[in-house]
């Protein structure tokens, strides 16, 4: 851990807008120094508000307090907080070239021209943008804009990096590439980072810890493995990864469909089997070959649907009768 990394802490921060709209219920959140925390949730859950509170772009309702390091920054304006932010729309300055965008924060902070040029060149090289330095912003591709936005945020060496849906605006292939690049970069910089996303793959790949939010609250905060293996409630179970919910009872180690209880199964904890060896039987609705696994959708005889990840290329045409074996349930909450 670099010595100049700082922790971020929110205490009892809620946000109600002037028109009465409640964006965030009171939350406590602590980000350790050097940690990458991913805030994951559907749109409108209040995750972006968390980010804007840390940046100082919104002020918390009375009573809420925000700390960066040991300092209470609740009343400190954005420009004095020393945070770098990448906006979802990138918000690059259209009147400036690529290099001038990156150098903006240095110019504002009155770095001299030489220092500025060195730092900008360093970042251009780091982001593989050197050959485009003189380009106006509107001539850049989506991926280039994303990198410029990141370089611009990092240039003044902020204590905290805030990323608002940094990869959402990109197409799928580019998103995968940049996700790897970003993970590598964050690992190298070891800067305290808060990342907001609605994409669980992004959150799991980049976050040391993930805070899952829904309806203005944090549902669960933990490592990606914890969230996946031991979701605290049905929302987290459904939102992180794919989850089968089955109304069934376990009687003497055997699964009996029906009843009040809901059991949870990850797709890879189920397997296809011949009808006589299976826990339950049903008809294949569809199957999607995805290389290492084939995802098979099965309708059970009582109408419930299951998603099964079968290893390798399983041959399961629609309409085929199959059996399903339940290997392991996932425990949700304390149930």
């Amino acid at each position: 851990m670099k010595p100049d990394t700082v922790a971020v802490r929110l205490e009892g921060c809620s946000k109600t807008f002037a028109n009465g709209h409640r964006a965030l219920d009171p939350i406590d959140l602590a980000v350790a120094a050097g940690e990458t925390l991913a805030v994951l949730g559907p749109s409108g859950c209040g995750k972006t508000t968390v980010l804007r509170l840390i940046a100082g772009l919104e002020e918390p309702d009375p009573g809420g307090r925000i700390f960066i390091g040991e300092a209470d920054v609740t009343r400190v304006p954005t420009e004095q907080r020393g945070v770098g932010m990448v906006f979802q729309s990138y918000a690059l300055f259209p009147n400036l070239s690529l290099a001038d965008n990156i150098g903006y924060g240095l110019k504002v902070r009155r770095f001299d021209a030489l220092q500025r040029r060195q730092r900008v060149e360093e970042l251009l090289a780091m982001m593989h943008l050197s050959e485009f330095a003189a380009r106006p912003v509107h001539q850049l591709s989506g991926g280039q804009k994303q990198r410029v936005a990141l370089a611009r945020a990092l240039a003044p060496q902020p204590r905290v990096l805030l990323l608002d849906e940094p990869l959402t605006a990109l197409d799928a292939k580019l998103r995968d590439e940049l996700r790897v690049e970003l993970a590598e970069l964050l690992g190298r910089l070891q800067i305290t980072t808060v990342l907001v996303t609605h994409d669980q793959a992004e959150a799991m790949a980049l976050g040391h810890r993930v805070a899952v939010m829904s309806r203005r609250q944090i549902e669960q905060l933990g490592s990606p493995q914890e969230l996946y293996r031991a979701p605290r409630n049905a929302f987290v179970a459904d939102f992180v990864g794919t989850m089968n919910r089955v109304n069934a009872e376990q009687v003497n180690g055997k699964l009996v469909l029906g009843g009040e209880r809901t059991l949870y199964f990850r797709p890879h904890d189920l397997a296809l089997a011949s009808a006589d060896a299976a826990d339950v039987t049903g008809l294949v609705v569809g199957s999607f070959f995805a290389g290492s696994v084939t995802r098979v959708i099965v309708r059970l005889h009582d109408g419930q649907m299951l998603t099964v990840d079968a290893l390798g290329p399983a041959s399961a045409a629609a309409g085929t009768a199959v059996g399903v074996v339940f290997n392991q349930t996932t425990t949700v909450g304390t149930a």
């Binding site: 420009e79 770098g84 906006f87 729309s89 300055f93 903006y104 924060g105 504002v108 106006p136």
Partner: protein, 265 residues
């Protein structure tokens, strides 16, 4: 049947040319009158630059005053209009929208009425009443909506909130943000507004006629004066001078503006 589209095109062309001629011929006639020895005799009396030099000797000061007022008007409307547009853009509420509508009022109200109101209110301050600044006040009142609206249109088209927030996270305070984000990005609007304001101010007559004093005659007021009291040829020569002054000015400003906007990108 094939001849029909060709015929239609020819009719359209004829109509367009006739319309253009209807508008341009009076200008040409007026300009020619300004260089004719005696308009009532016609061409046979010969061409002359006499009238032009006479106008220049008599009314030169009106040309300079008009230019000075127009330039000052551009500066003042930009200084007021851009911040006004900024506030209207950043705080778009029902109240500010109403304000935006009210801003256009001086354009709809007859200039004479505006001028009368100005005279009734401020006319007793002799120093102001006799100064060219009094006319400037009128012109600013009349042209400000055009500058504000031009700036507003440009600011509304960009995501100003996000740009300013980005600048703030990079360490820029309000003043710095306004100078480095708002002004450069509003520049195309300021330039477009400046052109409109310049044109309107140079040609403004209604307000100016009420607000002027014998020592603060602008070009259009001088023109009216010459039409009323001089030979027809003199007034026509005056029109020619007006055009000679105005056309290079507008073309020049366009060129400078285009270079400026291109340079700031």
């Amino acid at each position: 049947m094939r001849a029909l589209p060709a015929l239609r095109f020819q009719l359209q062309l004829a109509l367009a040319l006739a319309t253009a001629a209807f508008m341009i011929v009076p200008v040409v006639v007026s300009v020619l009158a300004g260089v004719t020895e005696n308009y009532f005799v016609g061409w046979r009396s010969g061409l002359t630059l006499r009238w032009l030099s006479e106008v220049w000797a008599m009314y030169q000061s009106t040309v300079w005053l008009s230019l000075r007022i127009a330039m000052a008007c551009v500066v003042v409307t930009a200084l007021i209009g851009l911040p006004a547009a900024y506030v209207l853009c950043r705080h778009a509420t029902r109240a500010t929208r109403l304000l935006e509508e009210l801003l256009v009022l001086p354009v709809a109200v007859p200039g004479l009425a505006t001028a009368l109101a100005l005279i009734l209110t401020y006319g007793r301050w002799q120093a102001l009443r006799t100064s060219w600044l009094f006319i400037l006040v009128g012109h600013v009142l009349f042209t400000l909506p055009f500058m504000t609206r031009a700036c507003l249109a440009v600011l509304a088209a960009i995501d100003l909130d996000a740009l300013e927030e980005a600048a703030a996270t990079l360490g820029a305070g309000f003043g710095e943000r306004f100078r480095t984000v708002v002004v450069p990005n509003a520049m195309p609007g300021i330039v477009a507004g400046a052109l409109t304001v310049l044109t309107l101010s140079v040609g403004e007559f209604n307000l100016t006629w009420m607000l002027h004093t014998p020592l603060t005659q602008t070009l259009p007021v001088g023109l009216a004066d010459s039409y009323a009291s001089m030979r027809l040829e003199i007034a026509s020569a005056y029109t020619l001078i007006f055009l000679l002054m105005l056309l290079p000015l507008l073309v020049g400003v366009q060129v400078v503006a285009r270079r400026f906007v291109a340079g700031s990108r």
